[in-house]
């Protein structure tokens, strides 16, 4: 009986600690969301309130009226287009590397090392190139860069997923009358559907969340939501309502997406080191 009590107390303590920790990590997000529903008066009232006195969507309405909300659309366009291209090209490349060992270890290592180059060092010469090619502040420019920047990740992750497919499945298809291309479509892609899905989500989120590339390569036409958020930081005063509403607009889609793919999160984040 004594030990049962102790067990219970221990569990209660752990629950309390877990709740406190989770509160710490969730509270800032709560605060961000909550601010976006407050009226301007309430945001700038002292002392701050912990719950909006009156929930309203005026902050969002302003964003849509001013056209600022299109930056979310811009983010969506570049993130999804670059994801589709990177997934397609990267998966094919990953297949060759995994199955034919094309380029050997050198190519695989070079590709993953590309992932580690700091963006600022890449974006600077790219910017100069884009000025020359007139690609600054265009969808194509951003899409191209995101595609290239995400390729190493796609190749690396898909290589892992493809290596998980038993070779015999493909060989059986070859013997049964498929060409190499047919094997790709009929066996490889269906077999790593989950991996394709998870990797695409990550690729999308990387592009969606990027700030520095967009900061350098956009002006007014294809500004993404991350850049737009920083526009509301004034010298003296910050436009909290807009900052929070714009941040929420950019964050909600990610929360929804991530909610659907909890299972693949860890493998994606660890560059495939942990298999879920």
């Amino acid at each position: 009986m004594r030990s049962a009590t102790r067990h219970r107390i221990k569990l209660a303590l752990r629950l309390a600690a877990a709740s406190a920790i989770t509160l710490f990590f969730v509270f800032p997000i709560y605060w961000l969301f909550m601010i976006s529903f407050k009226t301007a008066d309430e945001i700038y009232s002292y002392p701050p309130t912990w719950w909006p006195g009156q929930i309203q969507f005026n902050s969002y309405a302003v964003l849509f009226k001013d056209g600022d909300a299109t930056t979310v659309w811009n983010s969506f366009v570049v993130a999804s287009a670059s994801t589709v291209i990177a997934m397609f090209l990267g998966t094919l490349c990953a297949y060759a590397i995994a199955r034919f060992r094309t380029g050997g270890d050198h190519l695989a290592n070079w590709i993953i090392s590309q992932r580690m180059v700091p963006p600022i060092a890449v974006v600077f010469p790219i910017f100069l190139l884009y000025v020359w090619l007139k690609l600054v502040d265009t969808y194509i420019g951003l899409i191209l860069l995101y595609t290239a920047f995400n390729l190493p990740y796609v190749i690396w992750m898909m290589r892992g997923y493809i290596l998980d497919i038993p070779r015999a499945l493909e060989e059986s298809a070859l013997v049964d009358g498929c060409t190499r291309w047919q094997v790709l479509w009929k066996v490889v892609f269906p077999m790593c559907r989950a991996g394709l899905f998870a990797t695409a989500i990550f690729t999308f989120v990387f592009a969606w969340n990027d700030f520095i590339f967009a900061l350098v390569l956009t002006r007014t036409e294809v500004t993404t939501y991350t850049v737009q958020v920083t526009h509301y930081f004034g010298g003296q005063s910050n436009f909290w309502a807009k900052i929070s509403a714009m941040s929420v607009l950019g964050t909600v889609p990610i929360f929804i997406i991530v909610g659907f793919m909890q299972r693949y999160l860890v493998r994606g984040m660890s560059l495939g080191a942990i298999k879920g």
């Binding site: 298809a173 060409t179 009929k186």
Partner: protein, 368 residues
Amino acid sequence: MADLKITDLHKYYGSTHVVKGVDLEIPAGEFTVLVGQSGCGKSTLLRTIAGLEDANQGSIEIGGQRVNDLPPRDRDIAMVFQNYALYPYMTVFENIAFGLRARRTPRAGIEPKVQRAARMLAIDHLLERFPRQLSGGQLQRVAIGRAVVRNARLYLFDEPLSNLDAQLRDEMRGEIKRLHQDLGKTMIYVTHDQIEAMTMADRIVLLRDGRIEQQGAPLELYERPATRYVAGFLGSPAMNFVPASLTAAGNALVVRTRDGTELALPPTRAETMAAHAGRPVVLGVRPEHMSRGGAGEARAGIVRHTVTIDLLQPTGARTYATFRLGDAPVVAELQAHDVSQPGERIELAFDMNRVVLIDPDSELVIAG
């Protein structure tokens, strides 16, 4: 005409030489079993035939056509893999139909073919299921069904039964054999299990370290092995090997072990082996070559010798008795009640007509 003809085939993985010059001809309709120890290159040979690996040297002809440069799909072969290789996202029907669809068989032709193959393998009630809903034996049937439905020229099996438990294995063995009889197709079957090889094969091809050690009908290899390796590989329990020497004693030829035991060869064999008199040999004697012979039996070549039993392993109908001959342990297969306890001294009859003698230097079996 040979359905498959392989000439001087070599295969390297990087710098490792795996298939080292194989010549093989397989007549149409024959069931050939490739057998050999793990790692001897059976799978590699099979996969090279299928075109899944590229040959480094030599030629492969299927139905008289050189196929070295053809991709697997154009070689007119079907293959069954060790781990079934079924597509988990397809139903059994789709799995079996896969090869037909890949070859653009008219839609109307697919259904009846799949149905027929499924009935043949007694899996027609499983067609709507997915592989994960099947047992090991059922999975294997589907994998075979996928090959059968194709009506290929050459069927390849790579250890298809090694994932099944012993009982299912026996059952499937019979099934594949029956299938072969029904279809009359040329089949090549890889296994490292010598019992599987013995029971299924029209012809056994025994591979050793990338080369063909010997080929022939199962009983031919069993009774007239060409080398010590073949003699030791086939048979369970394995053949006993006793170092000895061949000594002339008057007209007769005697196998003398190290402890001085003398076992005389029958006159017919003595004649052909006379040239080896005075040389060291290895006596190869299978467990069933010894028996607790009754007094009546006195054929030529039956030699009696009294031994002390060290160890008994009863298996029911038979008992394996271990004793020492020369300095080697020897296992004899006796009737259940031939001997009652270790330490017992019994007289055994050695059938010297059937034992083999091996030249210890070349490891070749001495003819005769």
